[in-house]
Amino acid sequence: MANTKMIQEMLTRAIFEVFEKMYYIFSEPLRGDGGNYQMKSTINFGGSTCGSIQMLLSRGIAETMAQNMLNLQKDEVDLPIMADCVKESLNMICGNFVRKLDPDRVFDLSIPIFETIPQNDCDRGPEGADHQLTLTFVTDCGNMRLTMTAPELL
């Protein structure tokens, strides 16, 4: 349990650092599933331990990420730009997390995968299962939900 709490703190700090530093988005932890999500990205990591992180987020967050990172107007933001920002953010979150987890060892990260979630698909991410940690956050521009699956860690 203590280990899970430590992992939760490390992942939360990684999320805050990436969203605040690169995208100027400030988030707060939220209880519950956080509502509808329109986008999904997944990354795997492997090193002294291995696992995956899936991020679900609302379109509003992806739009704001692109606008803030690239200084774009809302009508200049299209799906490929949002996909690029979402994948890069998850790459940074995962990299930041594994650096905190084990600063001495090399971790290999996969290239993140991006998908849109169909409107009538109520994807809430993986159902609460063993070896998983799910964190939900609220921001001014929408919600996001990250689920880490790591059998050796959780």
């Binding site: 690029d84 920002c85 790459n91 990299g95 930041n96 650096r99 084990d102 090399v106 290239i111």
Partner: protein, 143 residues
């Protein structure tokens, strides 16, 4: 003094941010080339002189570590300073990058000042376009 830079990252958004940071930091660029992976970077180098390469590690087709190795093997490219900008920042990875010829390492997420100061250190050109003292040392990371 203006310089040519090659930014290598599979994220177009990240390439745009790095380019913007270099520009607003006052560094004069005569040419800014971009590549989405190591293989494209090697193609861009053919026929173009580059003063500094800023490269990610985790990229499809050919990653940053392989790019460093390829540059190191080539007599012509071996001396081009490479700054690695990556989410991967373990001590072992940083040491490996330095051993393969990287002159600096920046961890993502970064602040604009991180890029500016490492460019000062690595290529020795100030924002006023003047060469800096040659006695400077590149950031070797916190081994």
């Amino acid at each position: 003094m203006s310089f040519n830079v090659l930014i290598v990252d599979d994220s177009g958004a990240m390439r745009a941010v790095i380019k913007k940071v270099i520009t607003i930091s006052g560094f004069k660029m005569s040419l800014c080339m971009e590549a989405g992976n190591g293989r494209e970077a090697l193609e861009r180098l053919q026929g173009n002189w580059v003063d500094v390469i800023i490269s990610d590690i985790n990229m499809p087709e050919m990653g940053g570590m392989e790019l460093l190795q390829a540059l190191n093997r080539d007599e012509l490219y071996r001396n081009i300073p490479v700054i690695v900008v990556s989410t991967e920042g373990s001590r072992e990875r940083m040491k490996d990058a330095m051993d393969r010829g990287a002159k600096g390492f920046i961890k993502k997420p970064f602040l604009p000042e991180d890029i500016r100061s490492i460019l000062h250190e690595v290529i020795g050109v100030g924002t006023d376009g003047e060469y800096q003292d040659d006695s400077r040392n590149a950031d070797q990371g916190d081994f």
